[in-house]
Symmetry: C2
Subunit: 239 residues, 2 copies
């Protein structure tokens, strides 16, 4: 189950057998969680981090009137709140968008890793820095791209992130989000998110039905999004 996570790591850097042993020993407990649960509330004290083994989750921040912004989506293999290890409490909620299987990683084990494995520490530091890079790309989207370009960009990013962990093939992947949730990723209203999906369909770029997304014209979609995967750091790095 932790295979997806290891795939993610190994795409970016070499992991020694010993390091892999440490990683495989992270998860103290596996748990199943229903869709639409808020797993972690902003501000609450943490002593474990969550590794997502199966399903979709999101980080969410909200305003007083209830408007929400999803700051990142998470898929299988993601260490959803690794940053919580150093922060001790989060500035946002973490919630499930589908039924999920999660692994609970006690902070003591991460602490032990940082004490004994400097290189592995750098690797995980690197991984949280990739999350930050995803945030920045999303800021570029929210600040400068049009609604349709933003949505195209999201679909391109998710395709690559899912492909890494073996959950995308033939230019398609399972996509369990409602249009309301897509809207909350993109800073749009549901109505406009709907119209934007339709426009992507109309242009022959995607198919989306029954929670299944197919990219019909990858070039076209990436062009519309000005998608450049550099920010995902998908190549080997000597850390």
């Amino acid at each position: 189950m932790i295979t997806a996570h290891l795939k993610k790591l190994k795409l970016r850097t070499r992991i020694s057998p010993e390091e892999e042993r440490v990683i495989r020993d992270f998860v103290a407990e596996t748990r199943r969680v229903r869709a639409d649960e808020t797993l972690i509330h902003a501000g609450e004290e943490l002593n474990t981090s969550v590794m997502l083994l199966h399903g979709w989750m999101a980080r969410s921040k909200d305003l007083q009137n209830g408007d929400r912004q999803f700051t990142e989506l998470h898929v299988a293999g993601d260490f959803v709140d690794l940053h919580g290890f150093t922060l001790k409490r989060l500035d946002h909620d973490i919630l499930t968008l589908s039924e999920c299987t999660i692994g609970l990683v006690p902070h003591e084990r991460l602490q032990a890793m940082t004490d004994a494995y400097p290189r592995l520490t750098r690797v995980y530091w690197f991984m949280t820095n990739i999350d930050a890079a995803i945030h920045r790309e999303s800021a570029l989207s929210l600040g400068q791209r049009s609604a349709i370009s933003r949505m195209a960009h999201l679909f391109c990013e998710l395709y690559l992130r899912l492909e890494i962990v073996g959950r995308a093939m033939d230019s398609a992947y399972e996509f369990p989000l409602t249009q309301r949730e897509v809207a909350e990723c993109l800073g749009l209203t549901v109505v406009h998110a709907n119209r934007t999906v339709q426009e992507l369909r109309r242009r022959g770029l995607i198919e989306l039905e029954n929670r299944h997304l197919t990219i019909l014209d990858r070039r076209g979609l990436e062009g519309l999004a000005e998608f450049d995967p550099g920010y995902l750091y998908l190549t080997q790095t000597a850390i």
Copy 2:
């Protein structure tokens, strides 16, 4: 000169004398840089990181048509591209917004720190995680807040960040950005940024002239912004 940086750290966590010695030994070279220079270009290989000792810098991403989004502003004491230590190349540019004094920190010294000082490594990991939290708050702004609320939020955040390092007092601070640059932080056009500044003035919330910003009504500004400083992690944490 590195005092500002130490202030930033010590506000968040205890720093031992030995750790402080390591930190004080980071900067190999100090340099002066003019305003409006792009210090680091996205993609270029890095072997040093930049500590900002004086002045203002920004991280910037752009689209093909030249539209830019600033993903974060930096002030004295900020380790501007500490994330570059693990990423090895950046996904964005780093540029000066004013004349700056910077300290160059060779990656070997950071590498040595991570090998020998696990706790200090966690502290700096923590600091890059705060940057990510700032990114998330900015995503909330860009996605959900109105132009005026967004701008109010930016001014509130900068006030706190500058106060920490002793560069804000009497509800005022030097603010060298042009309105164009403010617009690039907030995902607005210059014209609308201008109108938004004027509206903040009209409401008696701020004064802004000669690159000097005064907050006339802190409560009012924070209320308008729904500003909650939790995401800046300004309290002591046991790392």
